[in-house]
């Protein structure tokens, strides 16, 4: 996407409405919140050349309680319409009564190093950017949905133009229905550093959409929405190319797994099982 770098640079300077995170100051308390550490590491990573960074996400399934806060935070951050989900939490019941338990699998885009979705795009509308993140160019996407069919993780959804206020009643003089109550839905989000209002059939309506590790937040020095919102601190994010980062420590543990590794996709999302 030709304008992406410039737009993201603008974002980084707070030009498009994204609040820049306050710079971490001083040494944290003895037992610091991992968010503080990750934010410090993020600031360190952003000083590097983009190609020298390797963004990864680590999800500790043992700590996930299935609260769906990450799903909701993601929807709010990216103003996702009905039917578009970037980060669902897959719930699985394990065992048999009376020994039953549940496992939770938050599933963002795996940001594969060998993504099968980009190869099938007929117009280069989805590709791996210089940050190593698989992104969408909404103005290029023709909406053929071949990438959805090709993703082995079901991490892409199509924006059919639905609104949360669809089919809600309109009552004159009251804040009800689409005409008066859905200003929030019409407001622009800032995905990929570009403001896009939801108007008619213009993009991103009619496009395939996906998780992008909150690229617009990263460039402003803020962690992805799912990471900061995780109440169990089960989601970790950072630069795996930094040997001192938290994610580097985590992904070198033997109990790390990646989904469907046999397909050769090399996901950048790791799970601690």
């Amino acid at each position: 996407m030709p304008n992406e770098a410039a737009l993201l640079d603008k974002n980084a300077s707070g030009a498009s409405g994204v609040t820049t995170a306050p710079k971490p100051t001083g040494a944290p308390a003895a037992k610091e919140d991992v968010l503080f550490r990750m934010r410090t590491e993020l600031a360190r990573a952003l000083k590097k050349n983009p190609r020298e960074r390797r963004w990864v996400m680590v999800i500790d399934q043992r700590r996930c309680i299935g609260c769906h806060a990450c799903t909701v935070a993601c929807m709010a951050e990216n103003k996702l319409p009905p039917g578009v989900v970037y980060r669902p939490v897959v719930i699985k019941e394990v065992g048999m009564y009376p020994k039953v338990t549940m496992t939770f699998l938050p599933r963002p885009c795996m940001q594969c190093e060998n993504p099968p979705c980009t190869e099938v795009c007929p117009v280069h509308a989805t590709y791996t950017n210089k940050e190593g993140i698989v992104v969408m160019d909404y103005d290029q996407c023709i909406g053929c949905r071949a990438c959805i069919a090709a993703c082995p993780y079901g991490a892409r959804t199509f924006d059919y133009g639905h609104a949360h206020t669809d089919n809600t009643p309109e009552v004159g003089g009251m804040i009800l229905g689409r005409n008066t109550a859905d200003n929030y839905e019409r407001d622009a989000n800032v995905e990929y550093g570009k403001k896009r209002e939801r108007k008619g059939h213009s993009s991103p309506v009619g496009n395939v959409r996906k998780c992008h590790f909150c690229l617009h937040r990263l460039m402003a020095g803020i962690l992805p929405a799912c990471t900061t919102t995780c109440i169990g601190r089960a989601t970790y994010f950072g630069d795996a190319a930094d040997p001192d980062s938290l994610v580097s420590e985590l992904i070198n543990h033997p109990n790390i797994v990646r989904l469907k590794e046999e397909l050769g996709t090399a996901p950048r999302v790791y799970y601690i099982a």
Binding site: V84, V120, P122, V123, I142, G143, C144, P152, G161
Partner: protein, 377 residues
């Protein structure tokens, strides 16, 4: 069925389709039933069917215009016209399916040629161009035409490629085990040949000079029997291996088709009506070319093959990418179930109407007009 009835059917189906076309343009994909799990539905199945028909018709046209088989004389121009009409229907079907159909030009001018969709788009564009040129040369043919032969050779090569291209588009998709079979493109080639023969059988039913065309049927009927036999063999191989292999990604869609939700369509329409019945009827009919019966069997084959594309396409998508995914998210289009909506059926009806009327008008007005003007010249 006489030609007048065919016109009436064509007009009615097109009128129904006009509502579907309006709905698609006015409301986008709002009224479509496909979503983010089953992303390709009836319109893509029709794209495969009509695209295959176009290629199949071209290949049959080559018997007359390239190989000059005496028994096929006179069918080449009709087959090329049918190829153009069905190709148009295929392209409309796939354009309607796009989220941004106004950006279709990007596939041609800014393509990623490693992608199956772009390969298909370019393949069908080249194929359409060659077919149009071949048709123009054929209706204006005076004696031997070397250029026509060259075009037909090129078209034959391109046809063989694009016939299998939709199968390749699906077959290379490693995420969908049900489609990820090396023989899928070959199956699509044989489906195309069978449907091409079937459409010609239908077209010949409405031909004015039937006595001249009976010789064509003497080739088309045995060919259809053999091709349907091959298709049945492919189907048996595909499903029996899929189920016996036990891999969930392959077994579950195969079971859904053979013994699940789609078993009626599979056994009743694809296997019986579109396979065994035409084989038996055409075989029993022998050299007694009953032309209306031939047309009816042609329709049965088209219906059966249409259903087979639909089942392979849709069932292959009704698999959870991760166990529990379908329960994890709720919302429009996030379900494993799919049945075409009224709007989708209306568009399908319109496309069928366009093809019927296109073929009839071509046979009655356009092709004779071109021929007459050539004779006058």
């Amino acid at each position: 069925m006489n030609k007048k009835s065919a016109y009436i059917v064509g007009i009615i189906t097109l009128l129904i389709g006009l509502w579907g076309f309006y709905d698609r343009f006015a409301y986008g994909h709002d009224h479509a039933a496909y979503g983010s799990v089953v992303v390709w539905g009836l319109w893509v199945a029709l794209y495969f069917l009509f695209g295959g028909l176009a290629v199949g018709c071209f290949l049959w046209a080559s018997l007359d215009l390239l190989f000059e088989i005496p028994a096929c004389k006179g069918t080449g121009v009709k087959a090329l016209w049918a190829a153009l009409i069905t190709l148009t229907a295929a392209l409309i079907a796939i354009a309607f399916d796009l989220g941004h159909m106004e950006r279709f030009w990007k596939v041609l001018l800014q393509p990623n040629l490693h992608a199956g969709v772009a390969e298909d788009a370019w393949g069908y564009t080249i194929f359409g161009g060659l077919t149009a040129i071949a048709l123009f040369r054929a209706v204006n043919q005076k004696g031997k035409d070397g250029v026509l032969k060259v075009i037909m050779v090129l078209g034959l090569v391109v046809s063989l490629y694009v016939a299998g291209a939709p199968g390749k588009l699906m077959g290379v998709n490693a995420a969908r085990s049900f489609w990820h079979a090396g023989m899928l493109p070959v199956q699509f080639l044989f489906f195309a040949l069978a449907t091409g023969a079937a459409l010609l059988m239908v077209i010949l039913t409405f031909a004015d000079k039937k006595e001249k065309l009976e010789s064509s049927l003497s080739i088309l009927h045995p060919a259809a029997i053999i091709l349907l036999g091959i298709n049945l063999y492919f189907t048996w191989s595909y499903f029996s291996q899929g189920i016996a292999g036990g891999m969930p990604g392959i077994m579950l869609p195969a079971q859904e088709i053979v013994s699940g939700q789609y078993s009626g369509l599979f056994w009743g329409v694809q296997i019986m009506l579109g396979g065994i019945v035409p084989i038996v009827v055409l075989a029993l009919n022998g050299k007694n070319n009953n032309i209306p019966l031939s047309g009816l069997m042609g329709l049965c084959i088209l219906l059966g093959n249409g259903v087979s594309r639909y089942l392979i396409l849709v069932a292959g998508q009704k698999v959870e990418m991760l166990p529990g995914m379908s329960q994890a998210v709720h919302g429009p289009g996030l379900t494993l179930t799919y049945s075409p909506s009224t709007s989708e059926w209306a568009v399908a009806s319109g496309l069928v109407g366009l093809v019927i009327l296109g073929l009839l008008i071509g046979a009655d007005l356009l092709l004779p007009m071109f021929t007459k003007s050539r004779q006058e010249a």
